[in-house]
Symmetry: C2
Subunit: 310 residues, 2 copies
């Protein structure tokens, strides 16, 4: 099967009904109609086999996760997903693998009405790069540089599940494994928080490393209560106080949002969200990130955030 | 060196002065301001080491070519380049390699005022995926589906140089090697032809395979004069009538434009272009692609177009 037949067979159908798509897959480039009054929000993320997902990951989950990590970046900006491109590098054109991958990709694309409008297929070691395009009303995006002293720091959902699933491997219970393999980009939460939050990002590399980006961009510090970090029932059952902190503070792949917002908007924010929002700390004037436990005692972690090239 | 330091050191500077860039590298996603009245033109292409460029290619040329093949797709749509993202997968964070790559990328980005606004760096087998974003006034893009019976088929520049350079390897003279390693995206030509041509695409996989996409999309056939195909002086000197046809008809990587336009606009098109335009055939009603020589005799090629997965 040649490249062109591949693209037609597996991916042309994913253009959906294509709102704002003047011309989708099949020309030198796609033609798209941006919404007036909006800024365009653009992100590209690559997943490499064995590095960003275990070798045991199903093709369906690889398709899902490749899109999910990109949509998560749009969620963190408060953007609505519109379109995406897919650059797929494959060792061979395996129809069964492609069926599964396309199904997983399509399942998530349909939920968020994100139309696949172009891309490339090449032969090589398995690697997927997706570029996602979203829109946000001009001037209203959630950024990393807006956190203010006194803001509450909150996270959506629960933390540590994906890291624990990775650690347990085949022994992970299904609800943990789903958190690793099928992250849910918090699109609705990002849209709802657009006019409430001061700053946001998504948690891909681990809480303390990611939060540091907000602190650096905003020129502030923070105090985190490590005993306030939200846990799923499975995570709470399978970890102890001694083992859970590394997963929750430095484990990657949760794809929850970390948000800084005024203390007095917390109730309004919770009411607007389709996912639990937990207060885990506050923004301080003093530079740096301080960790404390429920008793207010200082904690020194024995691990660091995930670093791709360390 | 960690991923974030890498991005800052090598790529943050490539955002240029960033026309239309509200927020560049450093947040979850870039924020861009589209031009009113324009359609967005989006393309993604991947280059894999050893497959899309020889292992002897310098880092500078890899940086140049990665962007060039994407800008060439924008040129083929008659679009003006605006922004791009870069997803770079590297076996190791080698500063000297990155210096060269970034310099080559930047050299071409500056020429076409294309701002790097985001992307990703990951560890793995060397592979580069770029997504280029351009703009075209609404409804005026050059497409593949507009060729009409009677149109002249033309190409910019010369054909076969890159294929010959690849075939000769280390023995290729510099002017041929430059055609393989530093293709010139025909941006100005695409813009100038926007209101003249009926259809266009860029030649990446070889003339006869690529032209077939126009014929399929437009529902027409064509006759090509294989003796009319334009040659560079080096190509003419180093090939014979017997060896040159495969390079010119099926060799990839020339990144010239193939254009269908009314016969009576040829002079106007030539006057508007910064590159030679050569008439190489015509669009016919009869389906299929016919090759003839200067005497009008039918030619049957003994080769086929490049196919990534054949």
């Amino acid at each position: 099967m040649d490249e062109f037949a591949l693209i037609r067979r597996y991916f042309a159908q994913l253009t959906l009904d294509g709102e704002g798509v003047v011309l989708g897959i099949g020309d030198d480039a796609a033609l798209l109609r941006p919404s007036s009054g909006c800024e365009l929000v653009v992100t590209s993320d690559t997943l490499v086999a064995g590095r960003h997902f275990p070798d045991t990951t199903t093709p369906f989950d690889i398709g899902w996760k490749s899109l999910a990590v990109n949509l998560s970046d749009l969620a963190a900006m408060g953007a609505r997903p519109r379109w995406c491109t897919l650059a797929l590098t494959l060792p061979e054109a395996d129809a069964s693998w492609l069926d599964g991958f396309a199904a997983g990709f399509a399942a998530l694309a349909r939920v968020h009405r994100c139309a696949l409008v172009g891309g490339d297929t090449t032969r090589g070691a398995l690697s997927i790069t997706i570029t996602a395009l979203g829109e946000v009303p001009a001037g209203r995006a959630l950024r990393r540089d807006g956190a203010r002293i006194g803001d509450a720091i909150c996270v959506t959902g629960t933390l540590g599940d994906a890291a624990l699933a990775l650690r347990l491997g085949a022994a992970a219970v299904p609800e943990l494994r789903a958190r690793l393999d099928r992250p849910q980009p918090r699109i609705a939460a990002g849209l709802a928080l657009r006019d409430i939050a001061h700053a946001a990002l998504d948690l891909s590399d681990g809480l303390i490393g990611d939060l540091q980006h907000i602190l650096d961009a905003s020129g502030v510090g923070a105090t985190l209560d490590v005993d306030a970090l939200p846990m799923s029932p499975a995570f709470a059952r399978l970890t102890t106080a001694g083992t859970r902190r590394a997963d929750q503070l430095a484990g990657g792949d949760d794809y929850e949002l970390c948000i800084c917002l005024p203390e007095d908007t917390l109730d309004r924010a919770r009411a607007a969200l389709d996912v639990p929002l937990t207060r885990i700390g506050r923004i301080d004037a003093a530079p740096g990130l301080r960790l404390v436990d429920a008793q207010g005692h200082s904690i020194t972690p024995s691990f660091t955030a995930y670093r791709h090239f360390s």
